[in-house]
Subunit: 291 residues, 2 copies
């Protein structure tokens, strides 16, 4: 497996493989089994798989964890090589952004709701770096994890609106045995905090149970989840919402697909989790976002 740190080498690698289909997995490193499932998902129909490792400063707010975000490129590269990656693109910040860069991707109203309300500029930063990476790697396929559901929905919209020649694939959330969704930020959690963190998954299960019991009002489905989250000691809820998975607009009544999304601080760690359900009459089925 090769590792490139600069854009020119990245572009040469792509140019030398013209005509081959590249599958692409953008990451911020600190890899876990969730990321490795994305590599797996990138392979079908692709001749090569590229992963990027880049902790993108423009998607962190001024008081967020950019500085302390875990970084270990050697370990990440080993994991990616074992997973069958052909190339890792791991640029420095100064390589990615000119000092006077000023062009950004504005993803409209969807960037200001849910996580966007608490993290102004976050999705603009995500969309911009993903657009840059798409232009550098020129993938036929790119894979994102459903864990970051709002990111997935926004990038699906970006790809459609800007006509990127890229197929997006979404990989299901990978969970630990106790139900906690894998996240690089789980490393921040102490044992008591981890106990509270499990409430996110339990809350989503409560919302799903309400739907299975016939509840269709978005507000009451979210309330079922909220009741579980209120049991936490170290947990401070940001939001829990039942929204349209295409537009992220709140659903007064669930008639088809619903994205139930939750965000909460546990201690000083911000965690997110979600569930997408497809409702047909009395049948309620878990599905992958956008599939």
């Amino acid at each position: 497996m090769d590792i490139t740190r600069d854009k020119a080498a990245m572009r040469r690698w792509v140019a030398e493989r013209r005509g081959l289909r590249i599958g692409f997995v953008p990451t911020m490193g600190a890899l876990h089994a969730g990321h490795l499932s994305l590599v797996e998902r990138a392979r079908p129909g692709c001749d090569r798989v590229v992963a990027s490792v880049f902790v993108n400063p423009t998607q962190f707010g001024p008081h967020e964890d950019y500085e302390r975000y875990p970084r270990d490129l050697a370990r990440d590269a080993d994991l990616l090589a074992t997973a069958g990656c052909d190339l890792v693109f791991a640029p420095e910040t100064a390589e990615m952004y000119a000092h006077d860069a000023q062009t950004t991707i504005d993803v409209g109203a969807m960037q200001t709701v849910l996580c966007g309300a608490a993290r102004p500029g976050h999705f603009r930063g995500v969309a911009t770096v993903v657009a840059k990476l798409f232009h550098l790697v020129q993938p036929a396929v790119a894979v994102f994890g459903q864990k970051d559901a709002q990111q997935v929905v926004i990038l699906q919209r970006m790809v459609r609106d800007l006509d990127f020649p890229v197929e997006l694939r979404v990989a299901p959330i990978v969970r630990d045995a106790d139900g906690l969704a894998l996240s690089s930020r789980n490393a921040y959690l102490g044992p008591d905090e981890r106990h509270d963190a499990l409430l996110l998954h339990a809350a989503l299960q409560a919302a799903a149970a309400a739907l299975r019991d016939g509840e269709r009002a978005g507000e009451r489905i979210a309330a079922a989840a909220r009741a579980v989250l209120e049991r936490g000691t170290f947990l401070r809820l940001d939001y829990v919402a039942a929204v349209d998975p295409a537009s992220l607009a709140p659903l007064a009544n669930v008639t088809g697909r619903v994205l139930i999304a939750v965000a909460a601080w546990v201690g000083s760690t911000r965690l997110i989790d979600n569930l997408v359900l497809d409702v047909r009459g009395t049948a309620v089925r878990e599905v992958v976002l956008g599939e």
Copy 2:
């Protein structure tokens, strides 16, 4: 020469020519010799030349000339075929933009100065449609006319900031024998108005003469141009400015390259023109933007 009206056909045409280098000329149609010089400029080093003809609604303000902008695809296609174009991409508006499109390219502070001050949203619209066209046509080279100097500077910045794998080329302004820069909007001018329109070029020549006479203060160079424009009867000046051609910031003193740009309404027609000069000591030389 082929003509495609839909994105899927455009993508197929590109896919069938994978490995070939495409030169691309985006236009709004109503073609004149200036546009045809762009086609010529697209050819070196490219295997095929594609032009687009699309009057992009998102770059027109609510009170601008979107409705009356001249449209004649049959004539444009004939001219492009004669100029040696291989394909014309001429989508309808509903094909280009989904009804709920909300992703745009934000080109930062450079979009609010000069023409951007009088045309809010214009350069966001331009950058967004050019990004879409780049993704659909996947050119190795794209050519723009220096006539739209601010557009060129903004697109150069966009390509750099977002790492588009596209080489931008700039073609010099093509003028009528009387000095008027060719523009599709010249068709709106009556004979008396055309007389006033010539003052734009004369004003730029006056600014160049001031530079050649040793004037280096940006304000006084602009004033030399302004004095000429004040002779117009039907002319209402929007701006005349001496700016840095890389950043579009006003130049207090000219020490290297200067973009002298002018915009004025003549009757109900808005016209622009510009000149880029390279100043080395006492030597003043006209150059092409970005070369």
